[in-house]
Structure formats: structure tokens, C-alpha cells
Symmetry: C3
Subunit: 265 residues, 3 copies
């Protein structure tokens, strides 16, 4: 297994540019989480510049949180450029299962371009995997299925890594499967933690070609910082600011010690 | 009078989905205030999905803070779906009186769909009530009128509840009128407090059909949390984070004790 | 030299409206920085209302951070109204040098309307001054040129003030040149500090016609607050909240003492 601290070090040295087409709610958080870990975020969504921006980047993160048809077109243009350059493309299936437009956007993207990592909560991933799930807005609904099975099936079908975030995160490429057990319940009580996870994943995949390992390391790292922040916070307001501090100050030895990653047989 | 703590409890139990079409400045704050009080925020503005999203929701909040003509069209589609489902629709008349586009958007919405609660500051509500007021941007201008009279008139004409926020909030449906005297001057020194008030109102109306009482309780609850936050803050930066903490941790007995709501004869 | 405290006082008294057409990443920060210093921010981008809004304002700030062709059209309409009214127009050349669209937007704006202040980091200003620089996203790239020379040349050609932010800020109108040496390295480790600088500059130019002096005072004031915030922070998360507190509480005597502005011969 790769050491998290090794990847953290690469991010701090290489300062990878992570290009986002994301939603207007958590766009600041997505940019800032990349910044505090040592990457260089860039947000650009105009069709006229996304290809050029993707060519400057080391990873591309697509998030459909506040999508519109035009926006999906721009995502495709950016992803084509990213595919051509060979940089990882992460899709956050935010709200998949809630509306037809969101489902269509995900399937359209998966059909049109190469997505390297699909990330969502239980209900979102179940929907993308073809289950008949109705998501209640953007928060996770309970899904009565074996999520590891679904994630592996999706990865095999789509030739990608799949990340299911939750109390225990599932990370798989269909062959290798990791469970990540870091994090804190307060992450579910503040807006933005799901979106930031996708940005972190993009940043870690920017510095490591073994994407499934990069995803697991990225999540463990991100959630370790969240654990430290939660311990120092009185609620979700101070938690978020403390999280940015913790991520920024994260010590390599500490993160390797805190990580709870299990490789399934 | 309804107990605030009773409504707070319903929100924490029922976790109502509050669908927003709001501005790009405070969109994060609007989502997060719903989250920390126990609701489930969803932000979606594409014409292609707003009706579907509104049908998943328990309240709809419309805020014209950074509007555009297309956006108003999407608001109407969402509101029609909300009206059909019978969920409350809140309109935050942000910046009414500042430009023709904002006035037109408000009047167009009020004409086309059923708005259950209109919320604004003194100058915004005066403008919506037909007074010849020119708002200076989005901050309240002084209005030389009896605001209670104007709010009651507006409510009677539009068959809705009207909320005027300020040092003393006026909440009326034309018949019952409440004054809410909670809050803290620091709320006027940070961006987003006005918009968050509309989101809170939407969330409280989602769990209580007596809208005028729900609005008064929601404001008192929101402003009580702000009072607690201000007491612990050195300025508007820490105030906002402390506010999210205070809202999250708000104790039922405390909020009932702190509430300063008066029912006018 | 103007006293910073004198301009700070004017802002707190006059409460200038600062109209922004800015990016969706830091739009909240841009609004809030104006608010905490005592101004009144307004964000409006629809073609149908920008001229009217600019006419209500005392300064106009244009930021191309997440631009689109339509957005540039709205910027021009707002700037024409601002020019007609005689209020200062500030252009933040965010990401110039990264894509053709950004370069074109800047040159198009500079050609079509009167820009009073151009602000950017080293690579952005070099690009606007006609150098063959390729910016890496939105973070500053190293530029191997005498920046003071470039800034003066740009100011002379465009008849404007030019601000280059960095460890040492260069502020010039081609004739008078100031160096500002306030600030803290942590400003580069959090998203939004560059954009906020442009908003502060707009606000200071709103209350003082000697724009080059207003820019220097605004930057010194903004960066002095950042120094105070950094001294009280554990990382970029708490830094930002402490910054808003520090700006809000900034004492006139303190800021005059802290300012490190040098007028070059």
C-alpha cells in the first residue's frame, strides 16, 4: 500500500492544478480544500475556455450539484481535453437519483467521455449503477443493497474506480477494494464535505496513477484532518474553519498513524 | 402561541427538504443554515429539473439577489410545482426597489404563482407594497411609513404572510400580527443574514401550516442563535461560524426562554 | 501622502455602494470584505439591470475569475454606465494569461470602456502589458521582468492606475509609484485574498479621487488587517474569519502606524 504521507508530500511539492466544473453552493470550499492541501485550484466553466484550462491542469473534477444543460456540454468539452492529455477525470454524481436531468447528465458523461473515478453517496452510486433509487435531494437515502457488490459491478462495467462515501467509505476499481474508516459524524452536519471529498480525490489522483489507491489515501487524509478538526470544535461552524487549519497543518507521521484503510481480499 | 421548541423538534425529526432558487453570493449560507437546524437543503435552478426538485421538497425559497430573466422563469416553474403539491413558497424580495428588473421579477412572481410568504427589509417591502421607494443596492433604506400598516395591507392584497426584518421584525398575515424582538446589531454587519432568514422561514413553514406563527417562531429561533453567537464573538467573521454552532446546539428550553415575540391586538 | 485612517473614516461615514460583477468562487468574500470595512456591497450581473445598479453605486469592480462571453457583455454595459456617472472602475485580471478567453476579455474591456485601475498578480499584469506569459491557472507564475517598469508602461498606455499584488505590492499611475509592504504569507494559502484586494481598492477609490493613493492606502489597510489576523490564527481557516474581525475592528491609529507604504522617486 502507498503511504498517504508520500502522496501528501508530492502534492505539496508538485502543486497540481485541479480544474473544476462544479456547483455554485460549495465552489469556494472545493477550491479552498485544494489550496490548503497544497494544490492549485482553478474554476472555469465557459465552453470557450474549459478545454484550454483542462490542458493546463493535472486533474479535472466534475460536480453536477447545480447543473444546467449548457454546463454539461462544457463538462464534456473539458473532459475530452482531459482525456486527450491523460489526466484523471473525477465525477461527483451529486444528487443523482433526484431528478431526470441529473441522471441523464451522469449517464451522458459516462457514455461520452472517459471518467476515471465516480464518487457519490450510497443512493447516488446505486442510481448510477442502475438501481431504481429515488434520492431525496442531495442527502443520502438508505439503500438496501450490498454496496461493495454494486461498486465493483459499476467499476467493472465503466472501467473506472468507484468511491462510495459514508460512515465507512468503499473504494474499488472492480479488482482491488479498500474500506476507509476515518472521518467524523459532524461531516454530515455541514454543507460541502461531500463535494470537498471529490476535489481531494482529484488532487490525489493528479499525483498518483494507481487511482484506486490514490482515492483511498486521499479520503483517509481528508477525513483524518476532519477528525482532528471535530475534536477541537463546538459545532459545524467552527468545525469547517478548524478543518481547513488541520488540513493545512497536517503532519505526515500523524496522518500515516491515523489512517484506517483496509484492503479487502 | 406555538412553542418554538415544538417546531424546532419537528424540523430535527422530519428533516424537511428545502428547495432554493437563490443568489450566488449567499447560496452556501442559505444551504448551511437549513442543514445546521436539522433540515435538508437542496439548490437547483435549471428549468429542466426545478419542478421535479420542488416535488421532492417540503418548502420552496425564492431569492432574487442575483437574478436574471431566465432565472425568474425557472422560479415560476418551481413555484407552480410547489403550489400544486401544496408546499409553502417564500419570496425574498432581495434588492426590490433597486432596479426595474427586480421590481418586475417580484411583481411577475406575485402575479403568476401563489407566494405564501413575502420577506424583505423595510425598503424592499415598501416597494412591493407599491410605495415609491428607491433602494440603495441591497441594504435597507429608511422608509418614512408605518411599516405595520404596509405589511398588513400587502398581506391582505396578496393573501400571504409578510415579514419585514429589522431591529424589530414585523410578521403578519393581515389578521394576526407578531413583533419579534430577538437578534443582534452584528447581524447587519455581515453578508448573508437576511438571506438566511428567508431559508429559516421556509424551513419552519415546512413543518407548520399556520405560516404567520411559523415565520415568527423561525425568526425568533434564528435570532436567538445569533444573540448567543454575538456574545461569543469578536467581530462578524467569528460571529458567522459561532452562529452555525449556536444554531446546531440550540437547546429547546433556552430558545423558548429567549424568544421575544409579541402578538399585537 | 493621504492618511489611511482618513480614508477609512470616509468609508465608515459614507458607506459607499460597491457594485461587483465578479466570479462565483469568492463572490461572498468580495461582498463581505466591503461590508466589514463599512461599505455596502451589491452583486448584480444581469444585462437587464447592471447599468441601473452601477448608477446607484460609488465604484464598480469587474473580476473575470469565472467569466463567460455573456458576462463580459454585461461588464461592458455596467462599465459604460459607471464611466458616464464618473465612478471608478476596477478590473481584476484574474487568470489573464491562462486562456485566450481571459486575455480577450481583458483587452476587449480595456478597449471598449475606461478602466481606472487594473489589478493582478505578476503574471497577470505582465500578460495585460503585452508580455508573452502563460499563467498556470489563477496562481501567480514567476515572471522574469522588471515589474515596476511594466506597471508604469501599462499605466501610461492605458491611462489608468496599475496594481501588482505580491509580497511587495506595486501601485502606480505611470507618474507616482508606491510600494506597499504589508501583508502576510498566509494570504497566499487561502482562496479569495486576491479578489478581496480588488474589492477593497474599489471601495477606497469610491471615497478618494486620487486613485493611485487610494489604491496604496486600501492595500496597506487590507493587509494590515491580514497581519493582525495571521498573528491570531492557527491556519488559513481561522485566518479568514479572524481577518473579517480584524478589518471590522481596525483602529485608525493602529493602521496608520502599521502601514508600510513607500513613494518611489
Amino acid at each position: 500500500m502507498l503511504k498517504i504521507s508520500e502522496l501528501m508530500g508530492r502534492i505539496r511539492e508538485q502543486n497540481p492544478v485541479v480544474h473544476h466544473l462544479t456547483n455554485w453552493v460549495t465552489i469556494y470550499d472545493c477550491a479552498n480544500v485544494v489550496k490548503v492541501f497544497g494544490g492549485s485550484p482553478v474554476m472555469a466553466h465557459a465552453k470557450e475556455e474549459v478545454a484550454e484550462m483542462a490542458r493546463l491542469a493535472s486533474a479535472l473534477v466534475l460536480n453536477i450539484g447545480t447543473l444546467a444543460p449548457d454546463f454539461v456540454e462544457a463538462m464534456k468539452i473539458a473532459a475530452v481535453a482531459a482525456n486527450k492529455k491523460g489526466i484523471p477525470v473525477v465525477l461527483d454524481a451529486c444528487g443523482a437519483g433526484a431528478t431526470r436531468l441529473r441522471d441523464d447528465a451522469c449517464f451522458d458523461l459516462l457514455h461520452s467521455v472517459k471518467i476515471d473515478v465516480i464518487k457519490g453517496n450510497r443512493s447516488e452510486i446505486a442510481r448510477i449503477a442502475g438501481e431504481n433509487v429515488h434520492t431525496r435531494g442531495v442527502d443520502a437515502a438508505e439503500v438496501d443493497r450490498d454496496m461493495i457488490y454494486l461498486a465493483k459491478k459499476l467499476s467493472a462495467e465503466r472501467e473506472c474506480s468507484t468511491v462510495i462515501t459514508g460512515k465507512e467509505d468503499v473504494v474499488t476499481n472492480g479488482i482491488k477494494t479498500y474500506l476507509v474508516n476515518n472521518g467524523h459524524p459532524m461531516m454530515a452536519d455541514v454543507v460541502g464535505t461531500g463535494c470537498m471529498a471529490a476535489s481531494v480525490i482529484g488532487m490525489f489522483c493528479a499525483v498518483e496513477k494507481d487511482h484506486v489507491a490514490a482515492c483511498a489515501c486521499g479520503l483517509a487524509c481528508y477525513e483524518a484532518a476532519a477528525e482532528m478538526a471535530a475534536a477541537a470544535s463546538r459545532g459545524p461552524g467552527t468545525f469547517k474553519e478548524n478543518f481547513f487549519d488541520a488540513a493545512y497543518n497536517l503532519d505526515k507521521a500523524t496522518v500515516d498513524k491515523m489512517a484506517k484503510i483496509v484492503l479487502l481480499e
